[in-house]
Amino acid sequence: MSNKMHIKLNVNGKAEEFLAEPRELLIYTLRERLNITGPHIGCETSHCGACTVTIDGKSVKSCTMFAAQADGKEITTIEGIGGPDDLHPLQEAFKEHHGLQCGYCTPGMITRATKLLEENPTPTEEEIRFGMAGNICRCTGYQNIVKSIQAAASEMNAAKEAAE
């Protein structure tokens, strides 16, 4: 196929520009073209959430979106959420509360949780469980994921209060 499309993305604050076939999936663009391997592939049917990224402020499963559909948009992956010198409170909390085991779902899980806490900074356990239901974890049974998100929410709210 030679009907390539001209696509511009902003990924984790960096401008990217390339030619891609219309059928190229965003997860492929991220992982193969841009070498951003934090988002993972788990099902390719939108069920598991391992590929979750944030696009223009919304949680999106990048395995079922074409790169062309993301043209002109801002994308944040786990790599843009926090690194060795500036860990996000959610990254700290997942470590602290054993919110992960094999780590495969973790980037999508944390990426989704950042949006959940933006949408609702003081979620109940039920709201967390409902808000995270698009992200599957096969290892933890979710109990410590919920705990991690609760802990991060408290931490973030306390930091916000202190700043005010």
Partner: protein, 808 residues
Amino acid sequence: MKDEITREERVDNLKGMGCSRKRVEDARFTQGKGNYVDDVKLDGMLFGDFVRSPYAHARITNIDTAAALEVPGVLAVLTAADLEPLGLHWMPTLAGDKQMVLADGKVLFQGQEVAYVVAEDRYAAADGIEAVVVDYEELPVIVDPFKSLQSDVILRPDTVDENGKATDGAHGPRKHPNHIFTWEAGDKAPTEEVIANADVVAEEEMYYHRTHPCPLETCGCVASMDKVNGKLTLWGTFQAPHAIRTIVSLISGIEEHNIRVISPDIGGGFGNKVGAYPGYVCSVVASIVTGKPVKWIEDRMDNLMTTAFARDYWMKGKISATPEGKITGLHCHVTADHGGFDACADPTKFPAGFMNICTGSYDIPTAYLAVDGVYTNKAPGGVSYRCSFRVTEAVYFIERMIEVLAIKLNMDAAELRRINFIKKEQFPYTAALGWEYDSGDYHTAWDKALKAVDYGGLRAEQAQRVADFKAGKTRKLMGIGLSFFTEIVGAGPVKNCDILGLGMFDSCEIRIHPTGSAIARLGTISQGQGHATTFAQILASEIGLPADSITIEEGDTDTAPYGLGTYGSRSTPVAGAATAMAGRKIRAKAQMIAAYLLEVHDNDVEFDVDRFVVKGAPEKFKTMKEIAFAAYNQAIPGIEPGLEAVSYYDPPNMTYPFGAYICVMDIDVDTGVPDIRRFYALDDCGTRINPMIIEGQIHGGLTEALAVALGQEIAYDDMGNCKTGTLMDFFLPTAWEVPNYETDYTVTPSPHHPIGAKGVGESPHVGGVPCFSNAVQDAFRAFGNTHTNMPHDHWRIWKTANELGLHD
């Protein structure tokens, strides 16, 4: 020298056994910097993918690859005809059978590998697959193992002689061309006699449905043949990297020293990644053919439909007892559906795994088990999904039989368990089916569990609920699920456990660096269990260096000592033991160095947390850090420089973790929806290394148990079409469906394990499945239910209610 910190602080500083040390793995995973096989990228890397059979049973009359080879980006298409000259069109299975790598004239299950397309990227490979033309001639499909044993259709013509008679299999004579083996344990005639003459006999037939481990990361590999140096490097999702190296060497003819197998980070295994799959073989061949690295990654459908199903046991039981409920005999027959090839992952001498642990936690004097393996037109596999070999099936069987017997006796099922438990003083206990249970204290655990949930109170509430239901005051029933399980893990003693002739020992190699830090390498491989955290804790306690100063490395066969890998909860029982033993070798040498430095006799110093002290004079000591440095900078007469050790550990016995689980559930009889109100899990895994990780393993295992009991299955229609090939149909619980679990424990150390640890990762799955299932079934006990098969999804629960007349 004066100590600045207390002994307690010195213990804390080590972060050794017993502390909830935070995981060292998590920094990379939380930042998206894990390195899974699909993250491996090499220059010029190609991508391979399969043309798969749409039919469950068909003859292949032609494969035309010409058009595919014209597709831009496609470099090669491999078929069985290409592999045959290399002798690689079939491969040996772990179960002593053989399996087609690529379809050799026929296909035996839907999704079977027919051709392997090698292309520049995944998209080109997909285009190539579309362009391969395969002509199939459909054959009669058999998806029922009982029908298979009656059928004239011979599924595996390669296993019969010229008269169509079954030739002997890897496990002895076969009764029918579609029969694979009969495996027996215990005493048939005495068991039948006991049951025939018993006062009370309960009988039940149960189907433990086919399911799949379904880790979030599918299986995959990258094969890279360096033709200049003659070296093959194979990255992959391997739960047993060393065994994979040996298998690759045996089937490819490449000498083992020229093969390097690397298991990078693995995104969950649960048994799925134990076996050797056609994708691995084809990727290696493709790399040899093209001279380039070749990557193969399953998609989810490939994963669910072709690699590593679990269970699929049709179990028929009889249990006899005195009128008071003392069990006198147990009889079990299993018809095991193994699919098109017998590719079960079990120790060689155990074609039905450790199914003969099916007498459970009970003192049953007489028992007999027979298992018949059968070929059908389903995917091969038969792995142990989060359990030691077939232990989940065994525990489900006995925990259901106990419930059925309780109904027959009109007895409380908790009491029936209690009066039949093996008593503490009977350990080590030799069971009727042959295993020697190393240790246990079942009564203590059971009483603790019943008390924790106020069992009597729950039963009273349940009785009230039944009354309210009958009075029309509620449409919800209450189920109390009980299970008491004994596992058999840590395979295993080389005398009876091997896989393809490889003894199931494991290993650890330790190097202490001059400044008092260390690296230890093991023959196992973590898939999320946190080995890098916990094995460092074992070592910290054994050698007195902080866990934070010890790197744990696994999964690279060029550097790690040989071991049989991680599955069947064997890492802690076997490699954990090797780690402790290697640590003790380090300590023994350190003792001699310390004595030299302190100018006393070897026997005059003793180990104390992080140092050797002169007996009776604790102010005179050398820390392990000082000793490590001395090992590298002092010329000590009679002692070699350096501080290293290696241990290969052959366990004298299996370990036998146990536990008591109780689930309380409300069931809406009109929708069939179960609401798990409470789940209490008491585990006894012997010595506890890291309570935080133990708890995490239990949460996860229980959730996988919930999945299997309440909805997860691999189902086929009569044409052999797999009906559950995506996550739309295959149930993986989300945070929304999963309850919070209460965990508890007792500690009964294993008497033969160096640190008394027994393994824990699989207990919650093994004990959890019958517990959830018993809760559902118990809810309907008052209305005449004896047994219904899993999975108890909403529809099936509704159907049970309907059949019991609860909708009338």
